[in-house]
């Protein structure tokens, strides 16, 4: 449904997006995740055709975004980072206007406006002035605007940013319902959001894709990052790290401290090595002070992928 090939965008000498490629199938929900300034918004703007790319191609439903922009525009619904509202208009007139420029047939406009207002929980709010709405309601109007023409592809830039927790739950439910028969790309910098909504995450940092995987796949990467922290007390002169490293099934041993005769080790192994280490310690007469499994969570995996300095 969405195909992106070596897409790049430079702003002057700054490279915002650097040769990214990915594909999104029909009916998939993909989370676009990365720190602020990673290039999420720029990528989405290129997908919608709002800004042209410096190089590379993007197509939606087989139509090139740059060569056939009108066809693409008809097929997508787009919620930019800040909901694009005219502060002077009321919710009703605004949505009616959107239905007109989104080519909803004249006879269906009133019905569609009513439907989307009900869907985002705005029924009865027709006459509220957009400029007076709180952030949560603006976001709802923004979502209503994006779905009024019943698009096949939805591109949502940080749909839950700035909402209170109850509203976040509401908007997520709403997006989940939408996603049943639509292709959705949503960007976020909150991991739990991808977890709650998407089946696949594209992790982007510094304008490049650093991971493109299902959530299970990402968790597997996390699995590879499991470490065992072992603290042993051995007589002076014994090289504990080498001995532990010599055990079957231990990949890597990293000493990380030696205080008061207690040696701390970071052990990496595909299978839990603690029984073997305990056995070794007993055989050698060492004292075991601590052994714990240290599995990074999704957040840490994400930080690992995008670099810790952020």
């Amino acid at each position: 449904m969405i195909a992106v090939e070596a897409l790049s965008k430079n702003f002057g000498t700054f490279t915002a997006v650097n040769g990214i490629s990915f594909e999104v199938g029909m009916g998939q929900v993909v989370g676009f995740i990365g720190p602020n300034g990673a290039g999420k918004t720029t990528t989405m703007r290129m997908l919608t055709g709002f800004i042209p790319s410096t190089s590379g191609r993007a197509s939606i439903a087989g139509h090139d975004v740059f060569e056939d922009p009108m066809t693409v525009r008809r097929r997508i619904g787009y919620l930019p980072e800040t909901p694009p509202l005219y502060p002077e208009l009321t919710i009703g007139t605004y949505l009616r206007f959107i239905s007109q420029i989104r080519e909803v047939p004249r006879g269906e406009q009133v019905r569609r406006v009513g439907e989307v207002m009900e869907r985002v929980g705005l029924t009865g709010w027709e006459n509220r002035i957009l400029g007076s709405l709180s952030k949560g309601y603006r976001q709802r109007v923004g979502l209503a605007q994006a779905i009024i023409h019943d698009p096949e592809v939805l591109i949502l830039d940080e749909p839950t940013s700035g909402l209170d927790p109850r509203q976040v739950v509401g908007i997520r439910d709403f997006i989940r319902n939408l996603a049943t028969d639509r292709t959705v790309i949503l960007s976020t910098h909150i991991l739990s959001e991808v977890e709650a909504l998407a089946e696949r995450a594209i992790v982007i940092d510094g304008g490049q894709i650093v991971a493109d995987d299902t959530l299970d796949g990402l968790r597997e990467r996390v699995g590879a990052g499991v470490r065992y922290r072992v603290e042993l007390c051995a007589p002076k002169g014994v090289h504990v790290a080498t001995e532990v490293g010599g055990l079957d099934g231990v990949d890597q041993v990293q000493p990380c401290g030696d205080e008061n005769g207690i040696t701390a080790l970071d052990v990496r192994a595909p299978q839990d090595p603690r029984t073997a280490i305990a056995g070794l310690a007993t055989a050698k007469g060492w004292e075991v002070r601590a052994m714990e499994r240290h599995a990074p969570n999704l957040e840490e995996a994400f930080l690992h992928l995008v670099g810790n300095e952020r």
Partner: protein, 237 residues
């Protein structure tokens, strides 16, 4: 076409839900009344010539205030992104906005019909001249709205866009005065050709010259074209 019509109505609605249109209409009609009184009292003629001349200059300063928010405000609200990702061709956006401002101008001019009516009650105005004067003012509005739209596309700060709009129009006004000050014949002719006053003058005397009409249409289309280029180029930055 449907999109242009929707945009046209949306823009008019925005004008009237904000105090802008009301303040603008009131100010303009007040000035028109002042110019009318001055004109008639000073010349003692049952003519609109002085009022029309002054109004065309007043429009030059006032119309950019009416058009300044068009693109500047869209940029600020983020709604330009909305328009540029909806299936709306750029010409429809331009035309819808231009037509909405121009429609407000027409409303304005209809409001000033009160003055020829007063003339008709007390005297015997030359209706031909009145008609051509209105034609001239209408053409002025077309060109000024177009120039103001262009100014609005240059910045995302509406007030700056308003000032730029006046600045863009100023040469068309000053060129006439400059023409009288230069020595070189070719330059004087050029400045005269550029001057709006030269082209408005005929209409206020009751003369319809097709060259004048073409001049206004060219300025209108020229600025619309520049606006189109300017909005388009925003996306490339």
């Amino acid at each position: 076409m449907n999109a242009a019509w929707a945009i046209f109505r949306k823009e008019l609605r925005v004008y009237f839900v904000s105090p802008l249109a009301t303040v603008f209409l009131a100010t303009f009609l007040f000035l028109a009344g002042l110019f009318f009184y001055m004109g008639v009292a000073m010349s003692g003629e049952a003519s609109l010539r002085i009022m029309m001349g002054n109004l065309s200059i007043a429009l030059m300063f006032l119309l950019p205030m009416l058009t300044m928010r068009h693109f500047a405000e869209e940029e600020r609200n983020g709604t330009l992104e909305l328009m540029m990702t909806a299936p709306v061709p750029l010409w429809a956006l331009l035309f819808g906005k231009w037509a909405a401002s121009f429609a407000l101008c027409v409303l304005l001019l209809i409001g000033t019909l009160l003055f020829p009516a007063i003339l008709a009650y007390y005297g015997d105005p030359d209706w031909g001249v009145v008609a051509t004067s209105y034609m001239g003012l209408t053409l002025c509005c077309m060109a000024f709205v177009s120039a103001g739209l262009f100014a609005s596309s240059l910045t995302d700060e509406p007030v700056a866009a308003g000032i730029l709009g006046v600045l863009v129009l100023l040469p068309f006004w000053l060129a006439g005065t400059m023409a009288e000050m230069v020595e070189a014949d070719w330059l004087r002719e050029l400045l005269r050709a550029l001057s709006m006053m030269t082209h408005v003058d005929g209409f206020s005397k009751g003369v319809i010259d097709s060259a004048d009409i073409v001049w206004f249409l060219l300025v209108t289309i020229g600025f619309l074209f520049l606006t189109w280029r300017s909005v388009e180029s925003r996306r490339w930055r």
